[in-house]
């Protein structure tokens, strides 16, 4: 049976193998992803993000159990950082999801960022499609523990849940740009810890300053380990999805996300084309000139771009697009 057929028939092993191929050899995987694309677009994608230790894995575990109780199937992509020195990674999100490992309605994939910044891995977007085609109703992406500017999750998720916890800094942290702007739902986990009320007030005040939004993000309190507030969180996710659909925002988000994906893929493809120039020693020659001050980097890049565009239009790089 062909791999696409296997995956759409729910073959977990085939899906797992394709995810590996996406991570290791994207060009090869692409040929399969092309055929798989028609079977995607049905799943809803929830992104969980927040600082390390805020409880993303535990929240993932708890909401998955409720979703399963509602008869929905769930795919989970759990991302942990790679070592900048060795490229290795310790992927430990499954520790909090042990009970889910034998549930055939749940598929969990742990993933290393492989050096990619932004909170996700390069392979995340393709993996969402694979789990979608595998038939999962809901896909949960758990980002790496983030700091202030890892906001890639907005490219992929329909609903972004930002999980924070008390005791992480003063109120100026909350009005800074970046991560605090991307939450559709705010969760203060470990709500039994001191400082929860203050944090909630500060987030509410920050949200009150955003006047232009049609969706006012709710601020929820949870104690994920004790299952406190999780049901409410799912209700709010449902309410947000409903808002997205009724307001036309879902389509807009998916358009934005497709646009961003195209740019990402183009960037990757050109990076690869460029790297063949490096292999040919072509780039080395230019670098030598720049270092010797015989040429400036700006002119060099202009020239290089025109060479690339030229070879592209001359068919040096395959171009069979007609539209």
């Amino acid at each position: 049976m062909e791999i696409v057929e296997k995956i759409t028939n729910g073959d977990r092993r085939a899906a797992a193998k394709l995810i590996t191929l996406v991570e290791n050899n994207f060009n090869q995987a692409q040929e399969i992803l092309k055929k798989l694309y028609n079977y995607t677009g049905k799943a809803l994608v929830i992104g969980l993000t927040g600082p390390p230790g805020s409880g993303k894995s535990t929240v993932t575990d708890k909401i998955t159990k409720i979703l399963r109780g509602q008869g929905k199937t769930v795919g989970i992509i759990a991302i942990d950082p790679a070592s900048p020195f060795t490229g290795g990674a310790l992927l430990g999100d499954r520790i909090r999801m042990q009970d889910l490992s034998l549930d055939k309605g749940v598929f969990i994939r742990s993933m290393s960022t492989r050096g990619h910044l932004g909170g996700l891995s390069q392979a995340t977007q393709a993996t969402v499609k694979i789990l979608d085609a595998l038939g999962k109703d809901i896909i949960i992406i758990e980002t790496v523990g983030v700091g202030q500017s890892e906001v890639d999750i907005v490219k992929v998720a329909d609903t972004v849940v930002l999980i924070s916890m008390p005791g992480m800094g003063d109120d100026v942290q909350i009005i800074k740009a970046g991560i605090m702007e991307i939450g559709d739902i705010f969760v203060i986990n470990k709500a039994d810890k001191e400082g929860c009320e203050r944090l909630a007030t500060e987030i509410e005040m920050m949200l009150d300053l955003n006047q232009n939004s049609r969706w006012r993000p709710p601020v929820l309190k949870t104690i994920a380990t004790d299952n406190v507030g999780i049901k409410k969180l799912l209700e709010e996710i449902d309410r947000h999805i409903k808002f997205l659909k009724e307001s036309g925002e879902l389509e807009q988000r998916r358009r934005d996300s497709a646009k961003k994906e195209i740019f990402d893929l183009i960037r990757e493809q050109w990076k690869e084309i460029l790297s063949t120039f490096i292999d040919n020693g072509f780039l080395d020659k230019i670098v030598t000139k720049i270092v010797k001050r015989e040429e400036d980097p700006y002119t060099a890049v202009e020239k290089l771009s025109s060479i690339l565009v030229h070879s592209y239009t001359q068919g040096g790089i395959k171009n069979d697009r007609k539209d």
Binding site: G92, L102, S112
Partner: protein, 131 residues
């Protein structure tokens, strides 16, 4: 995003709560550039095999100190076979008496590493087995 990375599942079957050794090995493999999936304590053979499938690992490293290896290791190998997975390298570590090793090899455990093993030996072993 290119390039093959060796993926290893470090799992602790059985009921003992000693995961120091498993964590040391997990850390050493991470430092050797591998992607290590660590699942925590008290995993059943079924959980281990299902996790190995979803994570598409090249290697399963089993750590056990409870003495139940002669029961649990063969059970895991059996489940792998049932699922038509013959290409995953399975290794074991922990308190495993010398006289049990031949039997474990017979069921398909590729390598047994007892206390005192240099982690470099484990890394070397995995790199040679996973091509």
């Amino acid at each position: 995003m290119e390039g093959k990375k060796i993926r290893v599942l470090i799992a602790k079957p059985g009921l003992d709560g000693h995961d120091r050794g498993a964590k040391v090995v997990a850390r050493a493999l991470r430092d050797a550039g591998m992607e290590v999936i660590y699942t925590g304590l008290r995993q059943t053979p079924e959980q281990i095999v299902e996790t190995a499938i979803q994570e598409d690992v090249d290697v399963i490293g089993l750590s056990i100190l409870s003495g139940a290896h002669t029961h649990l290791f063969p059970k895991i190998m059996e489940l792998l076979k049932e699922n038509n997975i013959e290409d995953i390298v399975v290794i074991g570590g922990g308190v495993i008496p010398e006289e049990d090793i031949p039997e474990l090899r017979k069921v398909g455990i590729a390598g047994i590493f007892t206390p005192g093993t240099d982690t470099h030996d484990i890394i070397k072993f995995i790199r040679e087995k996973v091509k």
